[in-house]
């Protein structure tokens, strides 16, 4: 076992896959010389050279579009959209070119590629560098979307994403880049489409993504101190969604809280709530609680950010409402 940070997990996954497969390569804004704005790709230029790791102009549409063309020609590109908010610029390439490549060619072509992007609020990055964009992309057939919350999952999910035969968006939470964890030294994978039960419990199910998993775990500690046992599920993959694990948990606990960073309306939580409502309605002992970012653009100053994001206390209170209903 070795202790590595979340950002080092990105480096490890890329390094392992680039050593294995010469078709895997990395490009984007400042990913090479600078090692990425969060240092998540540090050291890769030195090991693999400027042909396989290179910087591009500030052109998100061309970065993702070029990845589609290279992927259709047999390469396995990994591109970085520095901040997930910049997805807006690359949206056409992701939605109209990458996600539809297999379908519109009747399977003759495909776009096996990975789009990594940093997302998430918490630090003072402002309204256009902090959004959680999973819900923008969840409505696109052909895409796969993962949101690792631990260094282990970054390694395992990013490696699975690189080997996927179809385009995968990997959402890396920027609050977590420094988070450390012991991971095995031998090669491992995390399958796409499988949630992780981070903490077993009986009284309430809390489903969370990314940075909110940590807050849900802290909330579970607080709930335990008050005599309540919360089961915390890390969705890990939002598309496809592991409905089975979530529904299985709710059939035991009878209560559900969903927590994510994006606004509640039209968010990931709505899809989880709908799945549980459809498949576990008879087991629900309380209304489903959904927590997400406030219905406002993401603010700059810390006081407002703290107001924006669901807090540990918000999660505790939502769980208590569900338990006492």
């Amino acid at each position: 076992m070795t202790t590595i940070a979340y950002r080092e997990a990105v480096q490890r996954a890329l390094r392992e896959e680039m050593r294995r497969d010469p078709a895997v390569f990395l490009f984007g804004e400042d990913v090479a010389e600078a090692g990425g704005v969060f240092k998540a790709t540090k050291g890769l230029l030195e090991e693999f050279g400027p042909t396989r790791v290179f910087d591009t102009p500030i052109s998100e549409s061309a970065i993702v579009g070029a990845a589609v063309g290279a992927a259709m020609m047999g390469m396995r590109p990994v591109v970085e959209v520095m901040f997930a908010d910049f997805t807006t610029i690359a949206m056409d390439a992701i939605v109209n070119s990458a996600a539809k490549a297999r379908f519109l060619s009747g399977g003759e072509f495909s776009a096996p590629m990975v789009v990594r992007m940093s997302y998430g609020a918490g630090a003072r990055w402002g309204a256009q560098h902090t959004q959680s964009v999973e819900a923008w992309l969840m409505n696109v057939p052909g895409l796969t979307i993962v949101m690792p919350s631990t260094p282990y999952d970054v390694v395992g999910l990013l490696k699975s994403a690189i080997r996927s035969p179809d385009p995968v968006v990997v959402l890396e939470n920027k609050q977590l880049y420094g988070k450390k964890e012991d991971v095995p030294d031998e090669e491992f994978f995390v399958p796409i489409g499988k949630a992780a039960v981070r903490r077993p419990g009986q009284d309430v199910t809390i489903v969370a993504t990314g940075y909110m998993v940590d807050r849900a775990l802290s909330a579970a500690d607080a709930l335990a101190a008050g005599g309540h046992s919360a089961e915390v599920i890390d969705a890990r993959s939002v598309l496809p969604l592991d409905v089975e694990t979530i529904v299985g948990s709710v059939t035991r606990t009878g209560r559900l809280v969903v927590v994510h960073e994006a606004p509640v309306f039209g968010g990931f939580g709505a899809e989880v709530a709908a799945a549980v409502g459809a498949q576990a309605f008879g087991y629900l002992a309380a209304p489903i609680e959904r927590l997400g970012g406030a219905w406002s653009p993401i603010p700059f100053g810390q006081v407002l950010i703290d107001e924006y994001l669901p807090s540990e206390q918000d999660i505790v209170q939502a769980a208590q409402r569900a338990i006492s209903a």
Binding site: M73, F103, S105, F109
Partner: protein
């Protein structure tokens, strides 16, 4: 060129009868570009045609049968009935999947060129698009990336003077689209897009540059859209009749026939033989397309993702 022209005219008839279900974006008048460019390529090069590069599909080997079946929405057509023929891809013919968003194919073509360069292959990637697409951000982003990385690509503008209904004077304030290449650090060349031999010559130079590792070329082919934007629109409504007349006199097929006659290459009833063979190929394709089955509704759910076994094997 004759095959493409005959195809377009016949497809328009079939559209009028309701048999062609795809809205047609006719390429009449622009055939020399796809022909001249594609004859300058090797089979292992790749292209992405525009919505009006019909000739390129046929030159590269997509059958009239398959292309027309696609326009009828049949299971034997593009993507087994799931995609429009206009933007279809064909692995065998070296045609990458295009996009119905004009200009969006430009970065994709650059990406194919990137793959060739990375693997040290001397293949070339070609992207066709109209003058309207040069106003998209993807034109700038794609050409800039290709220029910075010296990619083996040729960007072909089919400048037919209209972006849908808007004349070029209302969407471009400069005097030359080719001149934009200077800003990206590679040559821009303007050529008579109705002269198939001139297109071929210019393309051959651009391809030689690309294969030699000297980077991209922007090739602006001046031409004229003889029809409306699509089959739903009157051919030349709202245009100056003198403009239409002068361009019809410079029809690419007329020009090439005159050139061949001038060189004494049309003896022995050659044209009649070609016309007969074209007519036979088209009518065979019409019968094939009409007789072909519609897609099974279950086809909708295929090719959204790789089959599950492929995904598992990849892990």
């Amino acid at each position: 060129m004759l095959l493409t022209r005959a195809y377009e005219d016949r497809a328009q008839e079939l559209w009028s009868k309701g048999l062609v279900v795809e809205s047609l974006h006719g390429s009449q008048g622009q055939e020399a570009i796809g022909v001249g460019v594609c004859y300058g390529l090797r089979p292992d090069d790749v292209i992405i045609p525009s919505l009006r590069t019909r000739a390129a599909f046929l030159v590269r080997g997509v059958s009239v049968r398959q292309f027309l079946s696609g326009m009828l929405g049949k299971a034997t057509g593009a993507a087994k009935g799931k995609a429009t023929a206009h933007h279809m891809g064909s692995k065998d013919a070296g045609i990458l999947l295009g996009s119905a968003l004009v200009g969006s194919s430009i970065p994709v073509a650059a990406g194919a060129a990137l793959a060739f360069k990375m693997r040290d292959e001397d293949r070339v990637s070609v992207c066709f698009f109209g003058d309207g697409a040069t106003e998209r951000g993807d034109f700038h982003e794609g050409l800039n990336l290709a220029g910075v990385m010296k990619l083996p690509a040729v960007f072909v503008i089919e400048n037919n003077l209209y972006a849908e209904f808007t004349p070029i004077s209302k969407h471009f304030a400069g005097t030359s689209l080719a001149a934009r290449a200077e800003g990206y650090g590679f040559p821009g060349v303007t050529v008579d897009g109705n002269d198939v031999l001139a297109v071929y010559d210019a393309m051959s130079e651009a391809v030689a540059r690309a294969r030699a590792g000297e980077g991209p070329t922007l090739l602006e082919c001046m031409t004229y859209r003889q029809r409306g934007h699509s089959s739903s629109h009157p051919p030349t409504e709202g245009r100056d009749p003198a403009e239409v007349e002068s361009w019809l006199k410079r029809d690419p097929i007329l020009l090439f026939k005159a050139e061949l006659a001038h060189r004494g290459l049309l003896g022995g009833g050659a044209l009649a033989l070609i016309d007969a063979s074209v007519a036979e190929e088209i009518e065979d394709a019409v019968r094939f397309a009409v007789d072909s089955p519609l897609p099974d509704p279950a086809e909708l759910y295929r090719d959204v993702y790789a089959p599950a076994e492929t995904s598992e094997a990849a892990r």
